[in-house]
Amino acid sequence: MKWDIPSLEELEDAVWKCTACGNCKTTYDFGPPPTFGEICPAGVEFGFDGNMASKGKIAFARGILDGQLEWTEEFVNDIYRCTICGGCQNQCELDHKPVIPEIMEAIRRKAVEDGVGPMPTQKVIAQSLRSYDNPYQGPRRVRTDWTRPFKKAKNPIKNIMKENAPILFYVGCTGAFNLPVRNFPVATASIFQKLGIDFGILGENEICCGSTAMRLGDVDEFKRVAETNMKTFKDLHDNHGVETIVTSCAGCFRAMKKDYSLSDEYEDYMGGLKIIHTTNFLFNYFKQGKIKFTKEVPWKVTYHDPCHTGRHLIDYKIDEDGSQQWKGSYLGKNEDNCLYDIPREILKAIPGIEFVEMERIRSNSYCCGGGGGVMTGYGEWAVKNAGLRVQEAMDTGAQKMVSICPFCHFNLNEGSKRLQSDMKVYDLVELIDLAL
């Protein structure tokens, strides 16, 4: 398989499009009334312009390409002190906007290639991926621990390798191994069963999607798992009747949709398959009137838009042939694929729910602080940042936060503990399951 994953050098033209205007440092909307917010977790925590937003990361890229900056321990540290959340990207309007996260990841790829990245704590993840096929150093057999209650209740979940099903529920490593978010797959499978959906899981044969490796710049490891997965998925499609892959993890979803598509054989392997996030999948049932909420959930809630199901799914319109402005000109964005309205619509339909919004939402959502390898590399900072987001939620008067990403879920709950707050974070599937 050939991969079109750009090197920093290949992105040089884009790097030189940045004016250093610093617009990316904060989010602002004229309104009226005008709203303002911090948008860069790294900037909030570390403050120097180099740490802040795409202005800073592009300065790093420029310095490397200029020959001015050489790797030092501190420099490598700073290229990883970024959640790759894309909050900054959303503020920029110049031609390099569509590739801002690519520039950030290309710097990391260069660091890995040069043998200096990722950071030691993150290397543990890379090693775990190689040894265990997941970033949590979890033995394979633990992957199915969450299915026990289903077995007990005599509603076992199909092993898709043994029993065909049209739907693969790709659980993801976080849901399977990270104890505090294990209710995720449980709620998802419970809803599927309540709705009579014919689905199966890969169980012990599931391996990591590769998102973490990609975010850390470890291309070789990403390619290894991505290629293995694509082959497995094709086999499931060709020989086990699978037509749809449903995933509850925003990171897995993004990886399969976006990162895998950088392979020249993506269509051959994934062409026949539909990849869909649980939220979207359930929304289709909801629209068809097949989800009928029967129980009340009497909570005042707010919703946190994860980066991976939000702005990372924006489609950027680029003038590819120069017919509209000039070749490579950024023409505009399309947010149709972003899961902004769907979770809100479902939430509002649950009886008893009172819904309130935070200030920074949708494409200007404030990252929980866990992405881009930060949760593993810089746990303390990740949790501190999550606390800022939890505080914002508390300021709305909400009692609970809802989201659709296990990473955000885990990190925000940790943030809440740090604040010694009562705020608890739920996944949307948990609420749906409660109301069904």
Binding site: N23, P32, F36, F48, C92, S329
Partner: protein, 481 residues
């Protein structure tokens, strides 16, 4: 690629001392961090600072300045570095004093219509706080993330300058740390700690710190007048064939003092983005287009303003002007009337095609000189394949005339940067010779100003500078003295 920043000599003992003052997290000499402060949008050559320091209190600023003065280390104040003149690029290395962490809005006085803010408060933060009281400020068309106080002390201009003048005229009081580390105050807050309402009727000592490009002291708090926001906006849009006719229209309309912003732009500047390289204006399209914003409290007031505008149009038409009511391109109009603007602040309208660089000959030039200067600028700019993307604006009725060409260029290519630099400096010389004065001048401009200045002016500047900054440590070299 741009020229490399010069290497610098970092002394770890100095870093250690700075860390002692502001804490380990807020001072550094790491090169990758310094590099991010070594360049800006303009043609000014990159130069590396040696240390970056982010103070969080007035006491820390004082301690830094005392130490820097004692060790004779240059100090360059910085908030966002978006001044388009290389004013935060340290000519001599030294300490880059990043003030962004001092970002509190200390008070908004909704009765007396002023606010007290710290230098790190951005237009975005200030605008959203003021809106809660239906108040506003004269926002520039720059990035919302940039500092309001830095705009004010640099004689910045914005969407209300047609009515109230420069943003520096809105300053009501200041707290400043001198280059030697002493804390001083100017304006009413100097007499009564809590009174921040006015610089007058005291001697105008705020002038020691405005327009000095961060070379005379570090502002730690500033009082600024703010204004109520009437609910009804009307924008008059008109076009003319020539700059002369546009100048006449803006002058006549300016005489009535009914507009908050009164601006004409050449066809090239009305394009989003400015064409780079130069492209001829299509036949039959007027060369000048104008917008004039006026706010009213009642419908009747708006109608009265419209009546005045019609009188102006009649007056101009009688003179034989080609003036016509016209449609201003929607995106460009939004960018100029919905301020601060995240879109225009991102520099998209200016440099999206040019490629990362922008500089300007930005000047105050009397209205009656706009025509001769513009005609010369056009020749210079088109001769260098650059768009004559020029803006003219009246401030405070017709008191000041602003004349500015926004010039984009690709930052990747040194020859293009130099081409733009030479064109801009040539334009500036023409303007100076016609009695214009550049604002936020890069060193290249400073040299041209001082060449023409009365010897007494230069001498006085030197004396004032020497009095405040005896070791010449603050933003060294920026005054081109």
């Amino acid at each position: 690629m741009t020229e490399m920043p010069m290497e610098s000599k970092v002394d770890s003992k100095i870093t250690k001392k700075l860390c002692e003052i502001v804490g380990e997290k807020n001072a550094t000499d790491y090169k990758h961090i310094r590099y991010a402060y070594s360049y800006d949008l303009s043609f000014v050559k990159p130069k590396l600072p040696d240390y970056i320091v982010m103070p969080t209190s007035v006491e820390q600023v004082q301690a830094i300045m005392k130490f820097a003065n004692q060790e004779k280390i240059s100090v360059t104040p910085f908030t966002a570095g978006t001044n388009i003149g290389g004013l935060c690029i340290p000519e001599n290395g030294g300490i880059l004093l990043d003030m962004k962490r001092m970002n509190n809005i200390i008070r908004i006085d909704e009765e007396s219509h002023y606010a007290i803010i710290e230098p790190g408060v951005s237009h975005a933060k200030f605008a959203s706080a003021l809106a809660k009281y239906n108040l506003r400020f004269s926002w520039p068309v720059g990035p919302p993330s940039a500092s309001t106080s830095s705009c004010a002390i640099s004689h910045g201009i914005g969407g209300l300058s047609g009515r109230y003048g420069l943003n520096s005229e809105e300053i009501t009081s200041m707290e400043v740390v001198l280059p030697t580390g002493e804390l001083v105050r100017v304006g009413s807050c100097a007499i009564q700690e809590d009174a921040w309402h006015s610089c007058l009727p005291l001697p105008r000592m705020d002038g020691l710190f405005t327009g000095w490009l961060g070379t005379t002291g570090v502002i730690t708090k500033i009082g600024l007048r703010v204004h109520p926001t009437p609910p009804i906006l009307k924008v008059f849009t008109a076009s003319t064939e020539t700059i002369g006719q546009m100048a006449s229209y803006l002058r006549t309309l300016g005489n009535y003092e009914i507009c908050d912003d009164l601006t004409g732009v050449s066809w090239w500047l009305s394009q989003v983005p400015i064409p780079y390289p130069y492209k001829p204006k299509p036949e039959g399209v007027p060369e000048w287009i104008s917008f004039a914003t006026t706010f009213s409290w009642t419908q009747k007031e708006k109608e009265a303003r419209e009546e005045i505008w019609k009188m102006v149009v009649d007056e101009e038409t009688k003179k034989g002007s080609s003036l016509k009511e016209t449609v201003y391109p929607e995106e460009a109009l939004k960018a100029r009337t919905q301020l601060p603007s995240q879109i225009v602040g991102s520099t998209k309208n200016y440099t999206k095609q040019g490629g990362a660089g922008i500089s300007w000959p930005g000047t105050f030039t009397p209205v009656n000189k706009w025509e001769p200067v513009y005609e010369e600028w056009k020749k210079i700019l088109i001769g260098r394949n650059l768009s004559p993307s020029v803006r003219v604006t009246n401030y405070r009725g017709v008191h000041y005339g602003m004349l500015r060409a926004m010039i984009p260029f690709p930052k990747k290519d040194p020859a293009s940067i130099e081409n733009a630099r030479q064109a801009i400096v040539e334009c500036l010389k023409v303007d100076l010779d016609n009695g214009g004065i550049p604002y936020k001048p890069p060193v290249d401009f400073g040299l041209e100003i001082n060449k023409r200045a009365h010897p007494g002016y230069v001498e006085l500047m030197k004396r004032v500078k020497n009095m405040l900054d005896p070791n010449d440590i603050m933003n060294t070299g920026k005054l081109a003295l």
